[in-house]
Amino acid sequence: MKILKKISLGMALITGITIAISGTAITAEPVKVGFIYIGPPGDHGWTYRHDIGRKAVEAHFGDAVETTFQENVPEGPDAVRAITQMALSGHDLIFTTSYGYMDQTLAVAKKFPNVKFEHATGWKTADNVSNYGLKLYQSRHVQGVIAGLMTKTNKICYVASFPIPEVIREINTFYLGAKTQNPDVEVQIVWVYTWYDPGKEADAAQAMIDNGCDVITQHTDSPAPLVTAEKAGLVGFGQASDQTPFAPNAQLTGTIDNWDPYYIDRVQAVIDGTWEGHGTYFGDISEGAVGMAPFANMPQNVMDIAMDVRAKITNGTYFAFTGPLKDQSGELRLKDGEVASRMMLDTMDWYVEGITAKYPD
């Protein structure tokens, strides 16, 4: 470490001298920004949208930044190796874009106090670690409303990845949305324990279709469940990006993750020297960070209701996690009028009342 410090000090001196000699103070080294991806950028879902964010950074800053990424990094110990590698190779800012990189990001950040880290969708921070996420549950609630109105069998299905707070809260809000329109609705949940396995995701959707579901929702990263819905002549929702090309007749709408503004903002902060840790960005539908694909394949009255709900969520007059709200066991989680805190949303580990599926613990 000492040697490294000496070398970097020397480098800094040399750079300083060069700049002083050349007389132009702005010819700085480009800011190096790294991204750790859970899947391939070609997944057309989660990672695809993060990569679009990365490209937006490149387009915005041009030669002032240099971006790199590593794809298909498994959550867990392997992530430590990948993040360390990035920190060692001179990156100034590193975005780790999956929930399961949380502790790994913090562990690496401790060893590299001069490198700035940003972890997506978790809740832990440090002096050089910020946390960022999107309120994707806002769009999910609108999907729930649509699903409740569209189902004929009263069974709507949910292909779920891992039982972590961001997935649980979206299942909850989806169900709450559906129930506002259809009190008899029932949500079936299949856990596939993977973010990305098109074959398995398709099989899970098929299993639920066989079991009587007629609206397919997913919280995994490939369009496979939606394509399965299309094949079966049913309807469903896109995930993370507009997946109309995959399922022109099946996609009702879908969440579009928009990371671009945040990424540009944070890189700018690094360039300006104003970047700080302990950030807790939570992108909102009102600022365009949470987008929705065009509403399609539904009757006009359904579309009107959905538009109305979306408008209310956007202007802040409606929030699904408002008390009174009970969990599956009947315990009161939110008192009358109480609004769920960020901490409650970020650590949610219970199903709301009415979901009959067993909580996977």
């Binding site: 391939p40 070609g42 079936q188 099989d203 299993a207 066989d210 079991n211 579901c213 090309p245 995959f246």
Partner: protein, 317 residues
Amino acid sequence: MDVSSISPTLLIASLIVASTPIMLAAIGELVVERAGVLNLGVEGMMITGAICGFIVAYETGSPIYGVIASILGGAALSLIFAILTQFFLANQVASGLALTLFGLGFSALIGKGYTGITPPDMSSPNLGFLTEIPFLGKMLFEHDYLVYLAFSIILLVSIFLRYTRQGLILRAVGEDHSSAHALGYKVIRVRVLAILFGGGCAGLGGAYISLIRVPQWAEGMTHGAGWIALAIVVFASWKPMRILFGAWLFGGLTVLQLNLQAAGVSEINLILFKIPLQVQYLTMAPYLITILVLVLMSARALSNAPGSLGKSFHVSD
């Protein structure tokens, strides 16, 4: 909710679909191993077949051409393995692993522009009155061509290995390549042909995923199916018809656990005992049971392994 909401007909129908890719890859690998070659590159050949089939099916608009291309793609990749191991006598394990890594990267590269599109539909044969049979009709006779092709390949391989002279030669080469050579059989030629056959089958299995089961192209979409296929060959103790059961067991457990979850079954009643079903256990069940059966069978199964499996052959030996 209870188990009764799961329809056995639909369950078996989706079981057959889920097991077809591993069945195809496994029967190919079985022939390769019976010829005495261990090719660990199944995953790489499957994914290459998946993308080659997808690209050609999309560009020509014909799923048939896609299927042919997937076979050629898988076989072409296996040719690299054949050249490395049969002519340059490279280590088979290392070459096979390299083939998998290469296949995954190569397919991602050539598949760059093919994400986000849907391939042309593969029509299913109309089996007329057979589909009208209650219960069995929907279960067995409403599948696509490739499902029936996979069954036929297994049957033909079984007949080939057991009853034909060429099959006997292939087995002889696998059991003891020096003796086969002494008898005047072309060991290398037989092995190269077997490797190409294995590559073609793996490619076809990959195309089943990208053209029918999912159907779309996504990087790394075979997701370990090739490794399962390798395990199933051992599971089947190198006997073709048993591939069928190995693939069904694995595919069946995968589909069953998804169906149990969908039906919200949280416990199973076994007369007096209530067995709680945790999602995590259900998810690992296919792998767990595959390992278990492998262990139980291994003593007997391994004695069935071809004698020269994994050994390089050179005339000077």
